[in-house]
Structure formats: C-alpha cells, structure tokens
C-alpha cells in the first residue's frame, strides 16, 4: 500500500480551562490518498474545523494538539518548528476559509496578494508571478482577469471573491487543500459554482481536498469518501455512496434521515432528538448514547473505537460482531 498523502493518527486537541482541559477533538484518525476528496460533516462544534486547522498548523491558542501525529507524505508535520511549518503552508497545504468577504486584505489589490503568495513560495520574477496570477484567475473563472487583477477585493462580489480565495490557495500548487465551509457564507445560487470551481481546479492541479461542511448535498456531489464527526470523534468514515445509501452508525442514519426530500410528504422535518453534548459533559462510553435509538448497556460504559465494516469504519458497538477482518480503506 502506497504512503497516503496525509495521515492523521489519534489526533487529540485540547483547550485548557480553569476546570481542567476540554477535549474538543478526541482520537481522530484517517488517511487521505493523493487526488482524493474527503468530505467531513458534522454539527457545529463536532471538531471538523479544528481538525482542519490542526493539519495546517493554525490552531488558535489556547487550543493545541495534546497528542497524536499528523504525517504529510510520510513526514511528520505536527511537531515542526514554526518556520518550517510556515514553509509547508501554502506550498504543500492550502486552505480556503468560510467567509470570502473577510479572507482578503481590503487594503491590497488582488494582484498584490496573489503575487506576494506566489513569490513567497516559488522563485519567480515579479512579471512571471503576475502572469501566473492572471492565469490562476482565468482558471477559477474571473472574467477579464488581466484587467480585474488590479482591483481591490471590495470591487468583487462574494462568489467572485471566493474564486479569488481559491486561486490564492492554489497559487503555489499545494498537494492538499483544506476547504473549511467554503460555501456557507455564499448565496445559494453561487454555492454550486464555487464547489465546481474548487473541485475542478483541485483535480486539474492534482490536489487532494478535505472538504469541511455541514451540507450533506455538497459532500454527496463532490467527495469520494466522507467522515462523519460527532463530539470530536469520527462516527463513521467510508465511501460517500455507501454511507448515503446505507448508513451504519445510528447518528449517520439520523443525519441522512433529517435531510428533507420533496418526494416524501411529511408534516414535520425529521430530527434527531436532543442535541450534541457540550465538551464539558461528554457522557462516558459512546458520546451519542443519550440520543441513540439503539442504545444498549455497553454503549454507556465503553467507548467504541472504529470497527471495520465492509469498506468503511464505524464507531458503534452494534457492529462489534459483524466487524470482520475486511480491511477498510
């Protein structure tokens, strides 16, 4: 088996508080192959964004990686010196944030910001960098890129700005792009376009993508695999089709069941009763047990780890026995 592009092993992220550390991400492990698109879904506070920030080394203090390892192309990156990690950001791992309106510095032109990024990572002259920048803008679908490049961010619409942000994230050809809710702040009408641009550009540049979102629809259309997160842990991870059509974890099936469809006529929207526990009182055993319909004694006592089932892994005691020796990808 070839070395995965990215490998996260038992990642734990903690926030120190006066009442002891809060564990926001608890033992997350997954691999990402080159060129693969991994969707990460979950409710707010499930630890999706924190996992993304940890990979690119931009956790906001006081949050920090308490244990676990992150490998990029087999090389450990979670314990690098600040300066070495900086050289990886942008060059090997790019990131797209949620709000394009605030991601760009309002006082610099698009050209300034693109050229600065390109020249930080690649040995190019000002002219070459500018040419490259115009090319990038063209690729992400900015019309009249050679003219618009000297405009300021406020002269672009939200969708256009997110295209610029994608161009910036890809400016130095990173192998991995982490997109943290890239369409949440956008109009519904342009969300699909931005996802298309993101996917198309990453495919073209051969970059893998971690797409963090709470929009199952986006994942269904874009991702190869999906990781469902709950209370800082992965509940289920596997190929998108299989999980959407046949969710194993009760939380995942609840999540899928709560997506309204036009075909079924129902008076009320389906929802999972209760809400995700706060970080300070995650119950013992499986964190989902108070809300789970299929809960039994063991769930309240012992925490399930990821059990391989068919092509995927599920953190649920229901599958303890069915869990065979099949190796999950």
């Amino acid at each position: 088996m070839p070395t995965p592009l990215l490998s996260v092993r038992d990642l734990v992220i903690e926030f120190p508080t006066r009442h002891g550390p809060l564990t926001a991400v608890d033992g997350v492990s997954f691999d990402l192959a080159a060129g693969e698109v991994l969707g990460v879904v979950g409710e707010s506070g499930a630890g999706k964004s924190l996992t993304g920030s940890a990979i690119i080394g931009l956790l906001d203090p006081p949050g920090h990686i308490a244990s676990g390892e992150i490998y990029l192309k087999g090389k450990r990156i979670d314990n690098l010196r600040a300066e070495d990690m900086r050289a990886i950001r942008g060059r090997h791992i790019g990131m797209v944030f949620q709000d394009p309106l605030t991601s760009l510095n309002p006082l610099y032109t698009i050209a300034d910001q693109l050229i600065e990024t390109i020249r930080t990572h690649l040995r190019l002259s000002e002219r070459e960098a500018r040419q490259r920048a115009i090319g990038l803008l063209d690729d992400v679908g900015i019309p009249a890129a050679s003219r618009r490049i000297d405009d300021y961010p406020h002269q672009f619409s939200g969708g256009m700005r997110q295209r610029v942000v994608i161009a910036l994230a890809l400016a130095a050809e990173p192998e991995l792009v982490i997109a943290d809710e890239p369409t949440t702040a956008l109009d519904v009408s342009v969300q699909a376009q931005i996802i298309d641009v993101l996917k198309e550009q990453c495919t073209q540049h051969g970059a893998s993508v971690i797409l963090i979102t709470h929009d199952m629809g986006v994942i269904a259309e874009t991702a190869d695999r999906v990781a469902v997160m709950y209370s800082g842990r992965i509940a289920e991870i596997g190929p998108v089709r299989e999980i959407i059509q046949n969710a194993k974890h009760p939380y995942t099936s609840g999540l899928m069941g709560s997506i309204p469809t036009l075909a079924q006529e129902e008076d009320r929207l389906v929802q999972i009763p209760g809400s995700m526990p706060r970080l300070s009182d995650i119950p013992p055993g499986c964190p989902f047990n108070p809300r789970c319909e299929k809960v039994f004694d063991k769930c309240r006592v012992q925490r399930p780890s990821l059990i391989p089932v068919e092509n995927r892994q599920v953190a649920c005691w229901l599958y303890e026995d069915t869990g065979t020796s099949e190796v999950a990808t």
Partner: protein, 327 residues
C-alpha cells in the same frame, strides 16, 4: 471626491468662524485692556480716547466683523502691550513653537507606533508588559509634572541638558532655527519629550489595541494559511490595516501638541507662541489672544482636513466609491 473636499472645506470655514466668535466674545470678560495700557495717572478723557482708538466702543458684532475683515488681509491688529503688529510678533515666535511641536510629534509617532507594534506582537512578553505598565504613568501624569521631573533628573541632578530656553538659534530668512546649533538641539530634547509623552503613550496604546484586533482578523489567518512570512504578515498586512483608525487620532493629537505647547513652554520658558499667549492673558492683550486662538483653530481644522484626505490615500474602499464595479 472633489465634492467631498469642497464640502469639507466649507465645513472647516464654518467651524473657524464659530471658534472665532466664541473666542472673541469670551475676551470681553477677561478684563479691561485699557486699565493696563494707561498708567495710574489716566484721566477719564484718556480712557475714552484710547477706547475709541482701539474700537472698543463699537458694538460687539461690529468689532468681530472688523477683526475678521482685517484678519483675512493678514492684519491681525496691533498688540496693546507691545505696540507692534500681532502678525509680526507671532511670526517671530512661531518657529520656536513649530519646531518644538514638530520634534514632539515625530517623537510621539515614531515611538508610539514602534512600541505599539512591539507590544502587540510580543503580547505576553516581559518587555511588552513592562512597557504597557510604564505607559500608564505617561497617560496619567500631568504634563507640567513630567516636565519638572525631567528638569530635576537631567538638568539639576545629572546636568546633561539645559533646563530652560532654546539655546542658540540661527536665522535662515525669517525663520530662527535651533536645529543647527548644539545648544539648540540639546535644549529641545526635554521640552519635546515632555510635550510628546502623553501623545506617545496614547498612540502606543491605540496602535497596540488596533493591531491586536487586526491580528485576529480572517485575512490575517488566511495570510498565514498562505505561508507568508511572519514579517510580511505583521508589517505588510497587519500594520497597514492598523494605521487606518490610528491616523485620525494621531492627527488630532498633533493638533493638541501645538495647542498644549502652552504648558510645556511655560515650564521650560520656551520662547514660543504659547508663552506669548500666557503673557498676553496677563495684560489682556486681546489682539494677541484672538490671533493665537484663531491660529490654533486654523491648525486644528487644517490637520483634520489633511487626515480626512489621507484616508483616501490609504483605504481604497473610500476613493473607489464611484468606480465600484461589483457584480
């Protein structure tokens, strides 16, 4: 943008007229200049003659309009006490105040921004905390006390710097400068620090809090995610965004540096317009006082105008109002 500038200029003129009116009406209550002008042996006829000469018998609005009319022609009247044109006296004193204010402002801006950035970047460092604590002293001590303290330490105890005066000056055209002689340069250090210390700490604290705010902004996080160097992020991205709001306050503070030079000039016996004003108050020398107040308000208004226009240079979002193409 032109419309904006014209509007601002009109606003400024209105402000100046109002300031002039208020100042001018207040002087009527300071005392009777004639008392001081004429000696003990005055007669009622003398008093009437002088009042008439000075135009003090005219109704108040007439006096004000006359004053404005003359001021517009550069004629600020004649000092009651010195018997010389006020414009001449002020022109003679202005270089001292402007040099002092200039050096103070430079000191305040350079150290204020420098230390502000330093304390923001090294937020939790020992030095940063030390500077922040010390800066409280600068904000809370009154100017005259700082001046006296500095004189005590550097002039009396250490004897390094002079405690008063401007030192030797050199005349270049109509401008007498203290920058070209050693004693002149030495003499300006203490008053300039005294005058600029408050503004320096104010600018420093403002820069620090603005910069901390900016460093939390999304575009700074995105700049980090793009792998830009810490230096480029702190000084290229964060500092420029920090300076936008800082400019207003700094501009206003430079205005007050000139205005508050009065106190420093008194403490250090600095021969500038502030000292002139203090002396004028003692003798109810209305033309000098009026001219000084008008001069200060012109400075304030001008600086404000410049600050507003500077925004356009720094922040493209303002000047592009008309040319926004967003779609």
């Amino acid at each position: 943008m032109l419309a904006y500038v014209i509007r601002r200029v009109f606003q400024s003129i209105f402000v100046l007229l109002m300031v002039g009116l208020v100042a001018f009406s207040m002087f009527r209550f300071v005392g009777d200049p004639v008392e001081n002008l004429l000696g003990q042996e005055r007669t009622q006829a003398d008093i009437e003659r002088v009042r008439d000469q000075l135009g003090l018998n005219d109704p108040f609005p007439v006096q004000y309009v006359k004053f404005l009319g003359n001021a517009l022609q550069g004629n600020l009247g004649v000092s009651y006490r010195q018997g010389r044109p006020v414009s001449e006296i002020i022109a003679e004193r202005a270089p001292a105040t402007l040099e002092l204010a200039g050096v103070s402002a430079l000191f305040a801006v350079v150290f204020g921004i420098g230390l502000g950035v330093f304390t923001a970047i090294r937020r939790d460092g020992f030095m940063a905390n030390f500077i922040m604590t010390t800066s409280l002293i600068g904000v809370s001590l009154p100017t005259f006390l700082i001046g006296i303290l500095l004189i005590y330490i550097f002039a009396v105890e250490l004897g390094w710097l002079p405690s008063f005066g401007r030192g030797e000056t050199v005349k270049i055209g109509g401008w007498s400068t203290g920058f070209l002689t050693e004693s002149g340069l030495k003499a300006i250090i203490l008053p300039a620090i005294t005058l600029g210390l408050y503004q320096m700490t104010l600018i420093m604290r403002l820069v620090r809090s603005e910069m901390l705010e900016v460093l939390r902004a999304d575009y700074i996080k995105f700049a980090r995610a793009r792998g830009l160097s810490t230096r480029a992020i702190n000084f290229g991205h964060a500092l420029k965004n920090t300076l936008v709001p800082v400019i207003t306050v700094t501009g206003l503070q430079i205005g007050s540096i000139i205005a508050f030079a009065i106190i420093t000039e008194t403490v250090f016996q600095w021969p500038g317009v502030g000292l002139l004003f203090i002396n004028a108050i003692q003798f109810v020398d209305i033309p000098v006082m009026a001219a000084y107040l008008m001069l200060i308000s012109v400075m304030f208004v001008l600086i404000n105008l410049i600050v507003d226009l500077l925004y356009f240079v720094i922040d493209p979002r303002l000047s592009a109002g008309a040319s926004t193409r967003g779609h």
